[in-house]
């Protein structure tokens, strides 16, 4: 299908929205305006059809049977791995399927061993989601290492000079950071961070959950050692995600869970394990999810990855410009580069009240601490915020309607 979606206005948007029937509904009597894509995205018909076709024509457990369905299923699963690897610029053996970003981070945080026997610290940034904060913090507690949080400046950008100071003063095994912040939308300079981390003998783990849909996530170009993301943030179902790791690191890592298929030989004396990626996929993998995730990558290709990125940037810029004109609204951070989402507070009004009332007008936004309590409490002194996160299937008309609804809600709540 030729979409011809214009990144700068709503030309061509109807052809895209037809692919997402869920968007064509009323919520509380108002047309749905779904602006919570940082939490989860909607799934296009093409991906749903892939999933349905798989179950209708080729479902069989993978890597286990000699029968035709198992072989077809295995071929589709491994094709998905190869396709996803191609999109990430890595080898298929470097793609491990997980249940999502959180599982991927926890796996590495628990199983990876630093080569430097004198490693005494790990670094995360102040921008992190709890998923890319707590697993590293807990590892440090277990090991007796220092857990260091690299601060951000007042704009919401990582202070790279401070990061370098931390790396100079400690034997850091891993720096973990988000590609894009789930609160501020800050796009981190991953290539630069990779360079800095590697110069100091540290590895870099990138949480790409918030960037995978719209940024160029080429792990080899980014230079990171590990990268993870969830399918449901990029038009695929929940329960599927990817841990991408350099072969040189994966080959040295022990399995983080044990079970069927991930072994070489098992006896009552000892067990030897398969090579990556199978070593890290104990039990029946979510192969149907992987097949759907691969289809989601293909769908984004059809729309055009550059178009998706450019359109989402325009939508976000437009929303930011309009929001800045709404009295009492304060937008958090002004990073050098923002993508995916932005968060704001309204003076004297609780974010929960705003989100609840917006929902009554059909507008879906996220409110709360966004699983980023360290960032909100320790950097911004805001316990809760409202977040909007448009996707390419949103329209500029919807942004206008959101702003009108917000003004109406603020007027009601301020009395």
């Amino acid at each position: 299908m030729n979409y011809q979606l214009n990144p700068q206005d709503d030309t061509g948007i109807e052809s895209v929205r037809k692919d997402f029937p869920i968007l064509d509904q009323k919520v509380n009597g108002h047309p749905l305006i779904y602006l919570d894509n940082a939490a989860t995205t909607q799934i296009p018909v093409a991906v749903l059809n892939t999933l349905m076709e798989h179950y209708q024509t080729q479902n069989g457990n993978v890597h286990r049977g000699n029968h035709t369905l198992s072989q077809k299923s295995t071929a589709a699963f491994e094709h998905a791995r190869a396709n996803i690897a191609r999109h990430l610029g890595v080898n298929a053996d470097e793609v491990i399927f997980t249940s999502g970003t959180t599982a991927a981070i926890n796996s590495v945080a628990s199983s990876w061993q630093p080569e430097d026997s004198e490693c005494n610290a790990l670094i995360v940034t102040a921008l992190e989601h709890h998923s890319n904060f707590i697993p590293w913090q807990q590892r440090c507690i277990r090991e007796g290492w220092d857990f260091l949080v690299c601060p951000i400046d007042e704009s919401g950008d990582i202070d790279i000079n401070l990061l370098e100071c931390m790396l100079n003063e400690h034997r850091v095994g891993m720096v973990a950071c988000a590609h894009v912040s789930n609160v501020l939308g800050t796009v981190n300079p991953i290539e630069k961070l990779s360079e800095v981390a590697h110069e100091h003998g540290s590895l870099l783990f990138v949480d790409a959950a918030q960037s995978i849909r719209h940024e160029n996530v080429d792990a080899s170009k980014l230079g990171c050692d590990f990268l993870s993301f969830s399918g449901h943030k990029m038009l695929a179902p929940t329960g599927i995600g990817v841990l991408c790791g350099k072969e040189e690191h994966l080959s040295k890592m022990s399995p983080f869970s044990f079970g069927g298929e991930m072994v070489d030989r098992v006896s009552s004396i000892e067990t030897t394990f398969a090579d990556p990626p199978i070593r890290f996929e104990a039990g029946t993998p979510n192969y149907s999810g992987a097949i759907a995730l691969s289809a989601a990558f293909d769908y984004l290709d059809e729309i055009g990855k550059d178009t998706v990125r450019e359109r989402e940037l325009h939508l976000l810029d437009y929303a930011q410009e309009k929001l800045a004109c709404v009295p009492l609204v304060r937008i958090l951070g002004h990073p050098r580069e923002r993508a995916g989402c932005l968060s704001f507070v309204v003076e004297g009004v609780h974010p929960f009240d705003i989100a609840a009332l917006l929902d009554s007008l059909g507008v879906a936004v996220r409110s709360g601490n966004l699983c980023a309590q360290p960032l909100l409490n320790e950097t911004f002194d805001d316990r809760f915020v409202v977040r909007i996160s448009p996707a390419f299937y949103n329209s500029f008309t919807e942004i206008n309607a959101f702003i009108s609804s917000l003004e109406c809600v603020i007027q009601l709540l301020r009395g």
């Binding site: 009597g29 609780h350 929960f352 609840a356 809760f384």
Partner: protein, 150 residues
């Protein structure tokens, strides 16, 4: 809205009266607006009184509740929250429970929100927060009753 005479009604009739008023609005936004009218009528709680109250922490909002026994054996409920929507729900609890005796309160089940269109708009977490507040009120009454028995 005028609920000055609501204490004269039984708990069930009082709750039904508020429920009927809510459901006279046929869209969620109007029901929220009505709920905010309740919020505006909840007496603000001073910092000092908050410190004397029990804090019920639920995701995204905090609430404080306190129960005081009156000379005539009835109880007065005081409440506060940092969000207007929860304040509205608390005002309904205060209206329905204050001025009643321990037996009436302990046997009561405030469920106005749950029986309006707002039930869908309220998350499960929010509804369980309201249930926790109601439970806290009852626990305070049981505690106050036990103190009297001592």
């Amino acid at each position: 809205m005028d609920y000055t005479e609501i204490r004269a009604l039984s708990f069930a009739d009082a709750q039904q009266k508020i429920l009927v008023d809510f459901n006279s609005f046929d869209d969620v936004f109007s029901q929220y607006t009505f709920l905010l009218d309740f919020a505006a009528k909840l007496e603000p709680m001073s910092e000092e009184d908050r410190n004397r109250s029990i804090k019920v922490e639920k995701c995204q909002s905090d609430a404080w509740v306190r129960v005081e026994k009156q000379d005539d054996g009835t109880f007065e409920v005081f409440a506060e929250s940092d969000t207007l929507i929860v304040r509205g729900a608390l005002k309904i609890m205060v209206l329905l429970l204050s001025g009643r005796n321990a037996k009436e309160i302990l046997e009561s089940n405030v469920c106005v929100i749950e029986n309006t269109d707002l039930a869908l708009a309220f998350s499960d977490e929010r509804l369980s927060g309201l249930a926790a507040i109601q439970k806290t009120i009852k626990e305070q009454i049981i505690y106050l009753q036990s103190k009297i028995s001592d």
